[in-house]
Chain length 218, copies 2
Amino acid sequence: MAKRARSQEAKEEKAGAILDMAAEMFATKEFERIKMSEIAKALGISNGILFVYFKTKEMLFFQLLMREYARRLENMEQRIEKADIGNYDLFKKLVLEEMAVIIEDSDMYIRLVSIRGAILEKNIDLEVMIESKQWFYNRFKEVALIIYERCKVFKPDEIMEIFLVQESILVGCKLCSSLPKDVLNIIDKYQMEGFKFAFKDNALKTMSYYLDGMHQHD
Amino acid sequence: MAKRARSQEAKEEKAGAILDMAAEMFATKEFERIKMSEIAKALGISNGILFVYFKTKEMLFFQLLMREYARRLENMEQRIEKADIGNYDLFKKLVLEEMAVIIEDSDMYIRLVSIRGAILEKNIDLEVMIESKQWFYNRFKEVALIIYERCKVFKPDEIMEIFLVQESILVGCKLCSSLPKDVLNIIDKYQMEGFKFAFKDNALKTMSYYLDGMHQHD
């Protein structure tokens, strides 16, 4: 039993190291350009071993996203514990603060989310998918319930909806504001300020108005 | 002069036919998988001729998006002319109706927008870019001004912002709700309804709340 536990632990450690390396590469390279063999090489393991841990590149990056989700939920739980979210304004403040942190620190998370449905989830084992989704769903629900208990403004399913919409706003604003430098220069030179779509400002503003509108309807 | 006009007309006709063919292929194929040579072949022209009209694949699809923008603005202008948008509720109704039409009929437009900044605008002649952007900006401003004159609720620059945010919501909700069939089956089977993120419903709801929040702040 002890041996099995140790080996399980070692496996998880190895899987973690692989995820770390994938994250490191993803920071400077697009998903399409990363090769599994490159990850194996950087870790000094064989392709065969790598594929024992993650059957496909999509599977590897899907698990990386799952780890990011887990971290986000954990962070959120900790924030909620410390913060007063006893009314709508305080809840809104917390959501926008968390969103600002994501925008500043978690470019990887936003990029992973934007390829989730269209790329990652298309090439994953059904079993892994079911297990991950169920785990995440239950965890997500748990955190929504904690928020609901602390802040009775929105129902748990509304809270889940808010965070899914937040994801869409992050991905959409990121994509629509990712203008190449040449384009930004042109916008400045020809005074087309209306085209300047600053990612952070716009994502936060959109989320803020969305929350206000939702609250108004509730 | 007459001859030049005719030849200009013929050129525009040819360019239009190329854009039509690109649109047709894009309906069933992703941008990355479409080859310029394939488009040329389908039109019965040489690669050389195709590249006279559009120097790069990005340029071709950027112009296709520009054509879509032009059509959208024209449609919007026509709708505004016919509709009563004398107050916030009527303006909101018009925006949401137009958005529903985009979602139902213009999958191509949404897909083009989502690759605009990150792909298309990275490989375009500066001159073409400047000319297109300026034309679009002036046209966009014109329509925003018409809306403003008919409906004094939002200022012209707020109206432009609304339509840029609409673009982000469309792209974000589309990406986050594009779940493969397997995933949808799992969601149903394991009763994780909170993960069902219907594109049309959610995009319209998000936009509706966003507008209400914006109106509230105005």
